[in-house]
Symmetry: C2
Subunit: 370 residues, 2 copies
């Protein structure tokens, strides 16, 4: 997507330096810092510390991680046991997004099928690039399908802005292009529809206020930052027409793990009869599980991500302590929204119900038996 | 309540200097700053800028404001028209909490009944002190009634901590003593019950993280700060036994205006069969209205309260900008929780259902006809 007129993605392969590079999202919107990922340790650090974040991007980063592993240790490109260990390390960098395992698996499988030596390194790079490209294409398709949804509401609103609420950042920064939750919004805006986005700031790491607001602003889309507390009130007063969020892992029955707080917005949407959609590429489905609340591992992160808030002060990134120094905090990073609260899924193959039956109808080829 | 061994209230009359003084809550928990309120302008500023906040304390501050008005202009203590204008200014300092009108009315009425001159000033002071004292007594009683609720859960939990979630600060800092939502918690702790409090940080002004965590910590009560997003997840996983919040205005039918985000917690409590109680002195009832969503005015505050977050950095209070400089924000300060989501009220006269019938049974003497 364009940033000040320049095409950017959140991750790319620099063919001049032959390195994997990413935008260090920890410093947005205040600083644009590009980071090299020359080693597996650097890739794992980038995933763990949220230099990169968002399920599809974590998947693509994991995919590039396998290439980085092979390149870093180019004396042992044929050592499958060693590579398997590196892949395990990559897969366990963060627990909730299923895309990470999917991305690593894809490249590991491609490597295992390649002939020896440099061909294996090249196979890893080709497959990682293919994963990233597929995610970009998937997001474009999600935008096309979701556009219909927004168009329908726009007709009803007769020129008044379509108010869309989103939580966290499921934008192009979280994906490769377009985003998932934002893809229909970009598509609608580009089609000339009057859209306005309520951006949940998304505590603790404020991916909404920092990243989604930045993305939308760079694209010229009207938006307003709100606290995570505000969505219910706005829905009660008919100020939200549609909710679209992303997901980090989705069960075969349609339960959705997404950034903590998503469940509360889904409850409010249900209580106010507002459509609540989840946009996702099929790489986010975990075909092996049904009950999201019981079976999706929820990451607990450092309490200081809550206690200290980062922002911009006098020309530099600054962190401030909010609660008393001695008060502890608990930092569950995701929650699970039960399928019963989800109006539907927007996928790269079209829309479907958030149910085993609905998902199976679109993805029968991927649906594994229990 | 005790702060480092010293008895404190959030507002008091200093008999030595004959001034009304308050804790400037904007700087807690990092700095304890005491502020004089020598003029009506200073009182209005303190209410508007949230030097003081919380419905019962706003009411008491408004009550003292009438005394301050008379004392400031002691050449015209008998000018009822002028006083009425000052009272109107005080009443409109903030729109949502009904206690403000109630406190100002109480003192204005007392003054109008007093004989001329100094007697009117003394009547104002006496009545303001009485308002504050009554709120303190009411909170103590709320604690006693709410204690039964927590005791019952404690028996079921058999020594395991009773986990109570609260939103914003409805503690002694918001009241005079004990608090409203916190009164049952203090009473339970003092009675030896094992309690643990989940403290919603309460964006945008973080009254939970800053004030509730500070109060509880000073009293030695186990607590954990969480983001406003986290409560639903905790409830899904049986980590919350009870929710208690305060209120800024409550309709005769039991709808509750409280800090923005309360509604979302009430929805989650309902969805998980967790009791959701609202603690309030009867000064918080607005007997004139029924439908809270339609009829309670919701204050919209400065967007920079969302965009800039205040905390402690290198030994001083610092503000950091979180979203892009050009992204706007919307700051609705309260939302309304419909009575259907409220398990019950804890009042100074006991507990009742959140319904017109339940409220009327306890407060038939105050219940005005439509």
């Amino acid at each position: 997507m364009k940033v000040d007129g320049k095409n950017m993605r959140p991750i790319w392969f620099n063919r001049d330096t032959r390195t994997v590079q990413v935008i260090d999202q920890r410093f947005l919107p205040h600083q644009m810092i590009i980071k090299d990922l020359p080693t597996v340790d650097a890739v794992i650090h980038a995933i763990k510390e949220m230099v990169v974040r968002g399920a599809p991007l974590i998947g693509a980063t994991g995919a590039f991680g396998v290439y980085v592993a092979l390149k870093e240790n180019n004396s042992r490109p044929e050592d499958d046991l060693w590579l398997s260990g590196q892949c395990d390390r990559l897969r366990s960098a963060r627990p909730t997004a299923t895309n990470l395992c999917w991305g690593v698996d894809r490249v590991q499988t491609a490597v295992s099928k390649a002939s020896a030596g440099d061909a294996r390194i090249q196979a890893a790079l080709d497959q990682a690039l293919a994963v990233a490209e597929e995610e970009a294409v998937n997001c474009r398709k999600i935008g096309e399908f979701g556009l219909e949804l927004i168009s329908d509401i726009a007709v009803q609103k007769n020129g008044q802005p379509v108010n869309i609420l989103t939580h966290c950042n499921a934008g192009w920064l979280a994906c490769i292009e377009y985003g998932t939750a934002t893809a229909p919004i970009y598509a609608a805006f580009d089609a000339g529809i009057n859209v306005h986005v309520w951006v949940d700031e998304t505590r603790p790491l404020n991916q909404g206020a920092r990243l989604t607001a930045w993305e939308l602003g760079k694209h010229g889309i009207a938006h307003t930052v709100i606290t995570d507390n505000a969505g219910g009130h706005l829905m009660q007063h008919n100020l939200v027409d549609l909710v679209i969020v992303g997901t980090d892992r989705t069960t075969r029955a349609g339960d959705v793990a997404n950034k903590i707080g998503t469940y509360l917005k889904a409850l409010a949407a249900k209580d106010n009869n507002i459509p609540f959609y989840v946009a996702l590429p099929s790489s986010t489905f975990d075909w092996s599980i049904t009950d999201g609340i019981a079976d999706i591992p929820i990451e607990e992160r450092d309490q200081d991500e809550i206690r200290y808030i980062q922002g911009w002060c006098k020309g530099k990134i600054t962190q401030v302590l909010v609660p008393p120094l001695k008060s502890p905090a608990a930092n569950h990073a995701f929650d699970v929204t039960p399928a019963r609260l989800v109006t539907g899924f927007i996928t790269e193959r079209g829309m479907c119900d958030a149910s085993e039956k609905g998902i199976k109808a679109l993805f029968s080829d991927k649906f594994t038996t229990k």
